[in-house]
Symmetry: C2
Subunit: 224 residues, 2 copies
DNA sequence: ACAAAAGTGTTTCCAGTACACCCATGA
DNA sequence: TCATGGGTGTACTGGAAACACTTTTGT
């Protein structure tokens, strides 16, 4: 059968995650530095090759765990990258995902069996990644922009409390726009995703800001 | 390297297309009957295994051509199906796509090297497909519903002229809702996707209906 | 003239936008 | 008391929804 046909041999699947955070108004993505060839010592998105004895979701989570130590992140499908020459070793089709994490809660490890370093990098300053990961990143960043207006994916960025101005700055950083304070607040409250905690946050010398928290997760709010 | 690791051996990629049409108010999908094992003589979605020397887009088009004879259809990514047991032969990850075609222009062939029959089947009556194709179909049907309100994908269903009532019936069939005639027409004209041909269609004994045609293709109208 | 189905216009309502004012705090 | 940034209210606008009337045809 097919298995013996050389046309079908030596193929594999990459599962690649773009893990984003927003750090002081800067959108960053988690990169790891590769220990092995191909692309030894190059920075890359988190991910690797799927095993043939694991579901793709399991492989995705395993790769994230193995290369970063992060264990509890929601990832959603973004795209498929299938140019025949995208890997120099053998034919690999990449399935890409995106996730969002609070930088303070992201206890990633800097070195693992296959990686020599890890860091959140400003997406605007990312260059020279392994494979076609720059392309994958661009595609995931687009998807992130679409997703934050249709889902409560940003809840992961604020596991505890947050103020409206904080949340707004995050939206503005990702979407690269500026929004009206009053309309932003009204819009967000009308979505029924967040609730007032009754607490306040005190900053430098300004009026204390109300603290909100995200309600239980409702992914992908439908337009209909 | 990885290539010699048994964990990475014997994997492949399926490219699977759900090709839809709307026939007299009934949403149908193109199925083919398999000649070979596994799932010999079972109906299945159009698709097959990607070669290791072709881009995924090329493989997708090749599979559609080989199994149906259809050569000029736009397909867009829908989902990835990666359960480890989804294929009984070897580990295959499926990438699924959707397309839409006018049933009158769809000159598909009934038999090919690998298929013994082909037919458009009412999506509500599809049962007992090969592999996990029922699951893939369900997912693609969902995607189709979302897509017809955000793109002019239905233009492929009406390569020539059409009347507003016809187009509305098509929307209603896919979305499984009923819409208001007047609002539907206004909405569609406001989208600037269609233009008046100046011609009219005469039916039984009713007022002639204006004929419209789709303007040049603009896929995926953005919400922003 | 009548039924059937097509075309057109009007009102209402809500969500998004733009904008002005008040409030609490630390210096 | 002042500057800074946070909180609240209101008027405007445009698109979606609800709805009624007219037009054309074959019988």
């Amino acid at each position: 059968m097919e298995v013996n046909n050389p046309l079908y041999k030596n193929q594999g699947i990459h599962v690649i995650s773009s893990i984003f955070t927003v750090d002081h108004g800067v959108v960053k993505v988690l990169l790891i530095k590769r220990k092995n060839n191909p692309f030894k010592d190059k920075w890359a998105l988190v991910g690797g090759a799927l095993y043939n004895n694991e579901d793709i979701d399991s492989g995705l989570k395993r790769e994230v765990r193995e290369k970063t130590g992060i264990d509890n992140i929601d990832l959603s499908l973004v795209n498929v990258h299938g140019r025949v020459d995208r890997s120099p070793v053998m034919r690999m089709v990449a399935v890409s995902y995106l996730g969002v994490i609070d930088i303070n809660k992201a206890n990633f490890v800097r070195e693992t069996l296959k990686t020599s370093d890890a860091a959140f990098v400003d997406v605007k300053k990312v260059t020279d990644l392994a494979y076609d990961h720059e392309e994958i990143l661009a595609s995931s960043l687009d998807a992130l922009k679409k997703k934050i207006v249709n889902s409560n994916i940003l809840a992961s960025l604020f596991p505890n409390c947050f103020t409206m101005p904080e949340l707004q700055k995050t939206y503005e950083a990702i979407l690269e726009v500026t929004l009206d304070r009053r309309n932003f607040r009204r819009k967000l409250l009308s979505l029924d995703l967040v609730e007032d905690t009754g607490e306040f946050a005190n900053f430098d010398g300004k009026k204390p800001a109300k603290l909100y928290r995200f309600k239980d997760k409702i992914d992908n709010i439908d337009v209909f």
